[in-house]
Amino acid sequence: MNFTKPSRRDTLRMMGLAGAAGVLAPNLLVSPALANPPSTPTGQIVVGVSQEPTVFNPLMPRIEVDDGVQLSLFDALVRISPDGEFVPALASEVPTIDNGGLSEDGLTWTFKLRDDVKWHDGEPFTAEDVKFTLELIVDPNFQSWRTTGHSLIRDIEVVSPTEIKWRMEEPFAPYMSILVETMMVPKHILGPLEDRNTAPFNQAPVGTGAFKWGSRKAGDNLELVANEEYFGEGPYIERLIYKYIPDLTVLYTQFKSGDIDIISNQYISPDNYAEAKALTGKVVEVVPSSTVESVFLNMEKPQFQDPAVREAIYSAIDKQTIIDALYYGLPTPAESYLPQQSFYYNPDLPKHAFDIEKANTLLDDAGWVPGDDGVRAKDGVRLSFSNSTTSGNHLREQTQQFMQQTLGQIGIEMTIENLPPAVMWGEYWSMSKFDSVIVGIVFTTGADADVTVRFSSDAIPAQGGRGSNTGQYKNTQVDKLLQEAGQIFDQQKRKDIYREVQEIVRGDLPLLPLFQYATVRGHKEGIKGIEPNINTRIDTWNASQYYWDK
């Protein structure tokens, strides 16, 4: 911690130490002592992204870069700090059992709202907008991207323009994390419309956020302008521009040439890290991401029924060499599906070791005998399976070849069947048509460790389930624990349960965790206010704080 110039995170920590974090107004989270943002918005910042933001209705399905834009245009009731603390945004305080916002049984939620918030068109933001938003999400005619949690809401009551309460059908602790990702939309604009899926609003959104919609040149760039009426701190720049540069090499070149000020998603590729570090006038840093790379196994395939096989495969993957040789040592080895920075992370999981001998012994003991072709078999099942990933991802393709070699040494045949993204992530993935897949997944919901949709046995789409448990993992103990943790609000207890879930999953190995990604981010010297937040999907989550220090 640097006391001469404390970062926002340090400030937060200090306030936490003082036990005062809860009573401070949110805008004090930005320490005024931190250099000097301009008094009126000044200048512009160009953010380069390799995927094009195209979804601007924040309740519709979206990808990371859409998040980045939406977080500047809209606000949720609560926000999440880099430390994983809930911070009020449109709400005036975060409801807890202690402050009475949450009932003891977790069923009644009451939100007090700020009274000084205006939509970009000047209309006041009120509890009616919150009610409208929560109802729109579960409207069967609306293309909302997630109804988890929202579908439990009953009896929404607007107590006053600044207070709203509702009842939950059953207690659901992860809901606060879901609310963090639920941006409020204006009732006075969307309410009167018949079809909200194709509303003009979706291409010219009106929010409450630090930036207002400017203009968009499809296929090229998107311009947001400062909302000088913003209720929070900032914004400090006049214009925030997202520039779409699909090719990663070109994205990096334009970062070098200075055409873009911040290199955002997908950031700087690992092979350019060494060079990027040495660039003058640029700040380049490695930031952990919550994406965990793993080999997903289809647990219904006969090859993967025997736990010994899964453990043998895991032992025969030379994780460290993959990380060092292919990813330039940037990612950190993982044993859990949770990022190491997570509050719920279990640091005591068994450590993976690359051990061909152990793998061979495991398979020998389990009765898998090498056939004439050198491939082991047992009861008519050959230890041969395919592995897929999106074609064109060179690092993953090299990982596959590397795995293929070491698995060959233990009598397992792995074939490579790569597919283009649109095919890969279609039914092939969702309906579990693969043998095994290399994939990077964010398992958390915001900061919450609830993984019911990924691991519970009623979440398997291929078996009629409704989640995204595409590895078809089933464990009744995990089901029970996930259900339990979802219904209690005591964070310490939840942490214990989620640690146990991680332990069981690590033992069962339905997925072979490889590593937790780290991204190489970069921006021009002189831009202040940039702060990583592992609890959000994108680096530009707090663009309202950006400014030029010249």
Binding site: V46, P61, G219, K243, T253, D259, Y428, V439, S468
Partner: protein
């Protein structure tokens, strides 16, 4: 003539329908769909994906989806892009402008420079200039465009800092001069290959003409070399080149994918790639229909013009 026209129109429409059916079928039968990009979104469930697919009408039988699409198209509704949520025609229109700008400027450069090199090469056959031009053309044709693009960016943007490293304009500027500044490098890179092609054709065409009798006659009459070149040779040599220039037109639709990618130029090539990668059915179908219509129309006009010019072509 009217009968011919009607018959050709009928054939064209039948062809269009067949093309659209095949295109629609292949596109929709490809595994995956426009929602697959959300498969890895945290918290995304199959239930949500199924619900949205139903709302978008993606789970209806294929023939129904086709008829729905075709019926709308007949009414002038090209649909709305899944990826962009904007009308297909406006999406295509915007990208077409970018491609047109790039294509037009590079074609002008290629024709001007290529013609000059070709004529000079032909009139000074086997000179140092001619050999240099020949070797240069071979090099330009053999080296891929992206390499030229990257080298150009490295030299002129990163090292010298004279030209921007890409993009169509400076965000926040967008004046005509700014557009021109951004056009220089990509259109030169794109023109390079065309200069090579163009100069070779031009050289051959000029050589064909230069030995013709009417040129000799002109020379015998004492017409100055310069006048012979300008008045008799170039005019005649350019004739076959017009066909060549016409062949550049379809490129407008496919765009110059590589150049557009290297220079982040928001043109048709990138639109096509983005839309395919996303399975943005309405846009891909729109592009397909658009190009099919253009090709058919082009052929039709060519036939009519040929018939009008040359009475030997019987239309009956």
């Amino acid at each position: 003539m009217a009968g011919f026209l009607l018959r050709r129109l009928g054939q064209s429409i039948a062809l269009l329908i067949i093309v659209s059916m095949i295109g629609f079928g292949i596109l929709h039968l490809t595994p995956g769909g426009p929602l697959s990009q959300y498969a890895l979104t945290p918290g995304m469930t199959q239930e949500t994906m199924d619900r949205i697919a139903e709302q978008m009408g993606l789970n209806r039988p294929l023939p129904i989806q086709y008829l729905d699409w075709a019926w709308r198209l007949l009414q002038g509704d090209w649909g709305v892009s899944y990826r962009d949520q904007q009308p297909v025609l406006s999406v295509i229109g915007r990208h077409m402008f970018a491609t047109f700008l790039l294509m037009a400027s590079s074609t002008v450069i290629a024709i001007a420079v290529g013609t000059w090199i070709g004529i000079k090469g032909a009139t000074h056959r086997y000179s140092l200039f001619d050999y240099t031009a020949t070797v240069g053309a071979m090099v330009a044709l053999s080296i891929p465009t992206f390499w030229f693009g990257l080298v150009g960016i490295y030299i002129f943007s990163l090292e010298l800092g004279w030209l921007p490293a890409g993009n169509m304009y400076t965000i926040g500027d967008g004046s005509v001069l700014d557009y021109l500044h951004h056009l220089i490098l990509p259109s030169l890179v794109l023109a390079l290959v065309n200069i090579a092609i163009w100069s070779r054709y031009m050289r051959t065409a000029t050589l064909d003409v230069i030995n013709q009798d009417f040129v000799k006659t002109a020379r015998a009459k004492g017409v100055s070399e310069r006048r012979i070149l300008m008045k008799h040779v170039v005019g005649n040599a350019l004739l076959p080149m017009i066909t060549l220039a016409g062949m550049q037109l379809p490129n407008l639709l496919s765009g110059a994918l590589i150049t557009e990618t290297v220079f982040t130029w928001p043109g048709m090539g990138r639109l096509f790639l983005d839309s395919l990668g996303y399975n943005d059915y309405p846009v891909v179908m729109g592009l397909l229909m658009f190009s099919a219509i253009l090709v058919l129309l082009g052929n039709l006009i060519a036939d009519l013009v040929a018939a009008a010019i040359d009475p030997r072509i019987r239309l009956a």
